[in-house]
Amino acid sequence: MEWLHALVDYGIIGLLIIMSIIAVAITVERYLIFRKIRVENFNDKKSLEIELTKKLHIIATIGSNAPYIGLLGTVLGIMFTFYTMGREGLMDTGKIMTGLALALKATAIGLVVAIPSITFYNFLLRKVKALIAQWETDNGRKRI
């Protein structure tokens, strides 16, 4: 059962950290592209939309799934604590509480990853809408 502990400590938390890095990297990249993009170069609204919303789904996925992954880590941690309790019989209350408290850190990290991701996603979505609206105004709404 030691592998379960290692899985929670390194697997889940490592996965969450990687997800966080990916989300921030995509956010920065998208932001730079939105600043650089020239809407006049696009003749079609749909192709502009495809170009703008590229990779945005990844941030949305990370934002919505990070809490679940964190929760999974917590459940595994609590499983491990209960397993140890059952195996060792009488256990110190302090030890049990420490085990449970440490199990909750996975949820905390999941939330810490999810909150900025959702914020970034909404921010980028707003930018996309603004750019599309700008294209529409530039083209006088005649070619929609």
């Binding site: 890095i21 990297a25 920065v28 592209i33 110190d92 420490t98």
Partner: protein, 235 residues
């Protein structure tokens, strides 16, 4: 493509900054360098053996290496210090006199004494070969006397839950090697007690900070005896 690279680099740097800040703020005092010695006096000082009670017998049967491992494991937990409990823990100089006598009979250096014991075939606890640094000019003292090292930050030991439940009390005598800068170099358990008292005391000592011993106004390295009594207050 450039944007992707910029994005990845900035993301990695943001995360590393966050991690560095996180680890810098959560200051973990590194106590890995502190060695814990367990010494058991079996041939000398028989009268103090009785004072320690039957719990010593339990501890004696354990392999010292295993005890040390336990200490390491409890250290990993990094529990927040519990300040408030109903137990009184006193550092009493008067009470520790018999322990001092035991220690002083074996004073010409821990290492030589330990090797002597091993040669004699009697039980001596786990003595790692790491010698305390700067043994020359080390003064022998005990907490509470003049010129002795003092606590800068005193971490109260946690009264072990099991001992509290069973109503057990105990006394642990430690000898702390404190260098001239006040840094704790290692901890030697002179007198053990069962029920997790020893581990709790060692843990608390490792989390405390000390001021160095002073001899003629000059700070020196010292070996200081510290007695920690675990006493339950009657309610």
């Amino acid at each position: 493509m450039h944007e992707q690279r910029y994005g990845l680099i900035s993301s990695l740097s943001i995360h590393s900054i966050v991690f560095i800040l996180f680890f810098a703020l959560s200051v973990h005092k590194n106590t890995d360098y502190i060695k814990t010695y367990y010494i058991q006096f079996t041939q000398m000082g028989e009268q103090t053996l009785q004072a320690a009670g039957p719990s010593r017998e339990i501890m004696k049967t354990k392999v010292p290496k295993a005890i040390k491992k336990d200490v390491v494991q409890t250290r990993c937990n990094d529990e927040p210090p519990v300040k408030e409990h109903e137990a009184v823990i006193i550092n009493d100089a008067i009470e520790s006199h018999e322990a001092v006598n035991v220690a002083s009979t074996s004073d010409p250096g821990l290492q030589s004494e330990a090797t002597h014991h091993q040669g004699g075939g009697s039980t001596v606890g786990n003595v790692p070969n790491a010698a305390p640094s700067g043994t020359s000019g080390v003064i022998e003292t005990e907490f509470g006397s003049t010129g002795a090292p003092a606590f800068l930050k005193r971490q109260m030991p946690i009264y072990p839950m099991m001992a509290k439940k069973l109503g057990k009390e105990g006394r642990v005598v430690l000898r702390l090697f404190i260098n001239e800068k006040g840094k704790l170099m290692n901890v030697e358990v002179v007198e053990q007690a069962g029920y997790g008292f020893t581990e709790s005391a060692v843990e608390a000592v490792k989390m405390s900070t000390f001021s160095p011993a002073r001899e003629n106004g000059v700070s020196t390295a010292s070996k200081a005896l510290l007695t920690i009594r675990f006493v339950l207050k009657k309610v």
